[in-house]
Amino acid sequence: MQPTDTRNNPEYFHKVIDCQYACPAHTPVPEYIRLIAAGRYTDAYMLNWESNVFPGILGRTCDRPCEPACRRGRLEGEEEPVAICRLKRVAADYKEMSKIKAQLPHIPSTKNGKTIALVGAGPASLTVARDLAPLGYTLHLYDEFPRGGGMMRSQIPAFRLPESVLDEEVDYILAMGVVSHFNHYVKSLHELMQVGYDAIFIGTGAPQGRDLSLPGRKEGDTRIHIGVNWLASVAFEHITKIGERVVVIGGGNTAMDCCRTARRLGGKDIKVVVRSPFEEMKASPWEKEDALAEDITILNNHNPLEFICRDGSLQAMTFDRVKAVYDEPEKRHLRSTQEAPVEIPCDDVLIAVGQDAAFPWIERHLGIEFDERTQLPIINPDTFQSTQSKIFFGGDAACGPENIITAVAHGHQAAISIDRYCQGEAVSDRLPPHVNLIHQKMGIHEWRYDSEIAPDERYVVPHEEKDTIMHNRKVEVELGFDRQMAYAEAQRCLNCDVQTIFTENRCIECDACMDICPTHCITFTENGTEEDLRGRLKARADNVTQDLYVSAPLKTQRVMVKDEDVCLHCALCAERCPTAAWDMQQYVYQVTKVQRQQFAPDLIAVDHADS
């Protein structure tokens, strides 16, 4: 293999930080976890805020793509990923408000003369607003609802995300001088373009809930609801109760929010009916667990057939029993078991079988092209610019239903594009990420980070008493970690951002690092192809998603090969190296943002650039 080029490829060490790499917004997770362990909650909050804009919200609701990626989950034994998401909430819970206010970016009173329209007040648009406001842009924010937040307000139930948390983080942005046009549904993009905005960002989400056209659908209409519309009506208090027997159709997170909300509005016998087997449901495992804990029944392998109505009112639903069959490992078919249909009596049905982006308000002659199959706008995946150069898309409107953190990541990139576009610069020219390496050695056996690691099970977030949460849909279920639990959970982090850095010309090939490495990451051997090397390292390197770090040839013409897969970042290699050929250095990776210069948090100011 060729020697690994860690110097010119900013992604090499980034990828070693599994969580940060997996986070769509590339939040510097290990750094904020260390700050939490150190009790520096405010700093941890600001570091998050700079990356993902909504730490308090995301610390409760994020889809957490970082956690399945967490190295801890790959370790020996019963280890599970670090509770990255809930630690984020800790930063939000214990931060000092007064200090936060002082650290928010300064908004210039003299504007730069450019005005941008943002359609939809969800996380995507809010992120664009936050990134552009400090640069002097004038921002006009439109939403059909009376308040900002998008689906974070209209869909995510208050028992998962309290209004106060949502308001606080949305208000940080609105207070940047954003001109809001709430209760304003944009009916025509053409008209909006006539206003003369310098650019328009479309972050209207994927608001259209899918329906089920089955026999009886029309007749039972008054008691059959589209899940997302129903949740929005609950959120804005147009709906306050539901029948005792409720059937929820669908197996995703929307279905979980529907059933749990129904439970709080008076539902007693609630059945979530899903076509797929339990393990294959789209809902996150923790959402399913929470629903089950609230006495909700999940019925799997049932395919809806018919709404049964008598005398013009809904009585029941019938289902066909199915079985999952696989032609190929990934290819599932649901086959009827040919048994008699199952009838489930019910008062209300909530349909939660997916949503789509919809653009009835965008005229098709404006130069914005749409993909015929997906009906989504055609956009540049890096710049989020549409085929009409003035119009940018992000969030669910750009790619179909995703999640908040993806909407934020899009928002950051779109903000760069809009800025470049408005300043007359090429939108596709983008600066590389800001990276740095910070030495960690302080003395013999002394590092700036806590390199000691021990087996420890993931801590479970405590819940509010069931009696309390069942009667008030606004009482938050999760209580969050207290400070002690947060500390213990934070200590489970392996500090994957502290990199093992190898300097060939210092190595005397004594093997000390290879001998001490507890997980057999390091091997000195004759070079070969990647496949060959993976098969003959001290421990087989079978996880091909993780890279091999290969040195240039050493004195004996062998190479050092390190399998990054299960490195514990324990620093023993560096401890045992007599010549400091191994060193531990913190890799700082910051995604380029429009306002990078203004926000470099102070902890990153203590860097000693590696020569």
């Binding site: 021990a454 000390a512 001998d515 001490i516 507890p518 004195k555 514990l568 045992r576």
Partner: protein
């Protein structure tokens, strides 16, 4: 601020045929200097015992005094261990072996422990063909007492502060050959590819198996002028062919390349194969040829590594003495103390001989 060995090991570390994983052969974290050759030897021993599927509780580790003699604490944590007085490991090993011949004896010593204070004990253990694997972790100095030159320090080589060693050095392999040792090898801590087969052969060999392992002392004897430094050894080593160890239970597949190969079968049916790489050609069963080979290369400033001699003919100490093959701890009190009458019989038989 930490310096401890994490409990985590590789999640897919496979067990060996005895059902043990790598971890079962490890010891506590080493306190030797970072980069010490001795630590590499400990790692090689862990790997060797794991690969040979040795039962850790069937091994007795014995050592004297020195950094090298400390190492038994850093491997085979589930084995028996005895840290003897400086240079006195061979007599403790002899006693242990006579009391229980059923354990695998592993003696770990240093060049000081063996070639200086322990020389007398060492030569007699070889002479008697004690059934033990005897390792010398040879760094040419007394590491533990701050690096004084030892009896294996090369003639005319300077120490760290530039003082020249005026004395002739002892070549322990040469000495072992001279004394009739049946298994004589030299390895280098920095070359596990060669060292591990040497150790496997030694641990399988019945009788005194001696392995002299060059093992740089990074702190006191790894300077540029040292003849026991990593660089010097790498630059001056002459390897006696490539070695392969095939355990008894494995099928033998001899490499097809047209190279000269020698095979020595060990007592338990395992084999050591030696593939010649250079022009030098000595017979593994010919101790005199090995001695000459060593001598010639010492004279030209080279260090010979590899298996020098392997010969399975001699009787080990138990066989010579005709002593109990059952361990004392398996014998009853009556067998161990048969009483006055038996003692009288023995005395009588002795007086008859006289």
């Amino acid at each position: 601020m930490t310096y401890h060995l994490p409990a985590f090991r590789h999640p897919h570390s496979p067990p060996n045929s005895a059902g043990h994983t790598y971890r079962d052969y490890e010891g506590v974290i080493s306190t030797l200097c970072a980069g010490c050759g001795h630590d590499s030897i400990s790692a090689a021993l862990v790997q060797t015992c794991y690969e040979l599927s040795i039962e850790p509780h069937q091994v007795a580790k014995l050592s004297g005094i020195g950094c090298s003699s400390k190492t038994p604490n850093y491997f085979l944590g589930y084995s028996h261990g005895f840290n003897a007085v400086h240079g006195r490991m061979p007599s403790v090993a002899t006693g242990a072996n006579l009391a229980n011949p059923n354990l695998l004896y592993l003696g770990v010593s240093g060049d000081g422990d063996t070639a200086s204070i322990g020389m007398g004990q060492f030569v007699h253990a070889i002479r008697r063909n004690l059934n033990i694997t005897y390792l010398v972790e040879n760094n040419g100095c007394y590491g533990l007492t701050k690096g004084q030159p030892s009896a294996t320090a090369d003639h005319n080589s300077p120490n760290k502060s530039g003082e020249i060693n005026e004395h002739i050095s002892v070549d322990l392999c040469g000495l072992a050959l001279q004394l009739g040792c049946g298994y004589v090898a030299r390895g280098f801590s920095g070359d596990k590819k060669q060292l591990i087969p040497l150790l496997k052969g030694a641990l399988t060999y019945k009788g005194f198996a001696f392995v002299d392992i060059l093992s740089p002392c990074v702190t006191f004897n790894n300077h540029a002028e040292s003849s026991k430094s990593y660089d010097h050894i790498r630059a001056h080593a002459v390897m006696m062919g490539e070695l392969d160890f095939v355990p008894a239970y494995e099928e033998i597949v001899v490499e097809s390349a047209p190279r000269k190969v020698q095979r020595v079968q060990l007592h338990d049916g395992s084999s050591v194969f030696l593939y010649k790489t250079g022009d030098d050609d000595i017979d593994l069963s010919d101790a005199t040829a090995a001695l000459n080979f060593l001598r010639t290369h010492i004279d030209s400033g080279h260090i010979t590594t590899g298996l020098l001699h392997c010969n399975g003919a001699g009787l080990e100490l138990h066989q010579t003495l005709n002593t109990s093959e059952t361990a004392f701890n398996q014998l009853s009190e009556k067998e161990l103390c048969p009483g006055n009458q038996v003692l009288q019989q023995i005395n009588h038989s002795l007086s008859v001989i006289r």
